[in-house]
């Protein structure tokens, strides 16, 4: 702040600052005078001096505070001007365009990944539907064979095979269903 005040074109703030300091010094002198008059026994004079000194010190502090506030406002104004000038705006635009380019690259990669994922998902769905259809036909055929060979099985064995077949069908366990078929006696 002092540096900016001491440059040639800023003499006004410098004068105000020195003026504030001078007023403060005057207040200090009045305090000293009041102390001296107290020592000399001049109580009324002391009271007057102290009253004046306190008011003048307050004035000095207010002047310095206002000067500080003005310097702060000036600095804020300078920063705002620096933010809104052409160079900063052009740099901001350039940086935002670079960010857009990076985002576009990432977006393209992710979109392609997503497309491949959806294609795989749809294919798996088709495969699952096809598997279900054929498994249903196989299960119905094995159940038919089981009913045909029912006479050669005990009722409990027959029921357990039927139950096992239903469980294997629910689990889509092809190997187990084919293995169960081997256990069915030929009619």
């Amino acid at each position: 702040m002092l540096w900016s005040l001491s440059s040639g074109c800023n003499s006004m703030p410098r004068r105000i600052f020195y003026g504030g300091l001078v007023i403060g010094s005057l207040a200090m002198l009045l305090f000293v005078a009041g102390f001296v008059s107290l020592q000399l026994g001049l109580v009324l004079l002391m009271g007057l001096f102290y009253l004046l000194a306190s008011k003048i010190l307050l004035l000095a502090l207010v002047v310095l505070a206002l000067l500080g506030l003005a310097a702060l406002i000036k600095a804020i104004g300078r920063e705002l001007l620096g933010y809104f000038d052409a160079e900063s705006a052009a740099l901001r635009r350039l940086l935002s365009l670079q960010r857009y380019r990076q985002d576009a690259r990432q977006q393209a990669v992710q979109q392609q990944k997503q497309l491949h994922y959806w294609a795989l998902f749809k294919r798996q769905r088709l495969l699952a539907a096809n598997n279900r259809k054929h498994l249903r036909a196989l299960s119905a055929a094995i159940e038919g064979e089981l009913r045909a060979g029912q006479s050669q099985l005990t009722p409990s064995h027959y029921q357990s095979l039927r139950k096992a077949l239903r469980q294997y069908y629910k689990r889509a366990d092809v190997e187990a269903m084919l293995a169960l078929r081997q256990q069915i006696p030929c009619p």
């Binding site: 040639g8 052409a86 160079e87 052009a90 740099l91 635009r93 350039l94 365009l97 670079q98 857009y100 380019r101 576009a104 690259r105 977006q107 393209a108 979109q111 392609q112 497309l115 491949h116 959806w118 294609a119 749809k122 294919r123 088709l126 495969l127 096809n130 598997n131 054929h134 036909a137 196989l138 119905a140 055929a141 094995i142 064979e145 092809v174 084919l178 078929r181």
Partner: protein, 181 residues
């Protein structure tokens, strides 16, 4: 009194000398300051124009990239749709294969037909999941050979009514595949 006035005169002349020197110093460097300001202004303008040019180039590149990316995406979308359609057609042809097998062999158990169809489907899925083109081609040849074997079995069974009740070549193919695995 003259002492005070002498002191005051000294002080005022000191202040005046100081101010004169300050003024001379400012006048002396005024031209340099003006040159510096102009140079700063020119540099800032040059920087602003360079940044604007770069931003323009980048905006153009962005537009080109956007068009290219959307084209590539459309191509990938079309390719994926076509792949899915091809896969569905393959599955349908395998279903028809199973139906023709059941039609050709009068008493073929469903389990055998299922096994043959299941093996063909496994070959199809292995081929579809394979990323290496040579391996993919090999698996496709294998699948086509298997389907040909099944067709030949069906035709042989239709032509010769006294043939065995099972598609021997297809089952032999399956056994050979399982042995090689």
């Amino acid at each position: 009194m003259s002492l005070i006035s002498r002191c005051l005169t000294e002080v005022f002349s000191f202040v005046r000398r100081h101010r004169d020197e300050n003024l001379r110093w400012h006048l002396h460097r005024q031209q340099d300051v003006a040159q510096l300001k102009q140079a700063q202004l020119l540099a800032e303008q040059a920087l602003v124009s360079q940044l604007k040019k770069q931003a323009q180039q980048l905006a153009h590149e962005l537009a080109v990239n956007k068009a290219r990316n959307s084209n590539e995406l459309e191509m990938v979308k079309t390719q994926c749709k076509q792949d899915l359609k091809d896969y569905q057609q393959y599955l349908q042809s395998l279903d028809r294969l199973k139906e023709s097998l059941r039609g050709s062999y009068a008493h073929l158990p469903e389990a055998v037909a299922f096994t043959i169809h299941h093996h063909a489907k496994q070959l199809l899925n292995r081929m579809w999941d394979e990323s290496q083109p040579e391996e993919k081609l090999k698996l496709e040849m294998q699948l086509l050979q298997f389907m040909t074997a099944v067709h030949e079995d069906s035709q042989a069974s239709l032509q010769d009514s006294q043939a065995e009740g099972l598609p021997q070549r297809a089952l032999a193919f399956i056994d050979a595949d399982r042995a090689s695995e």
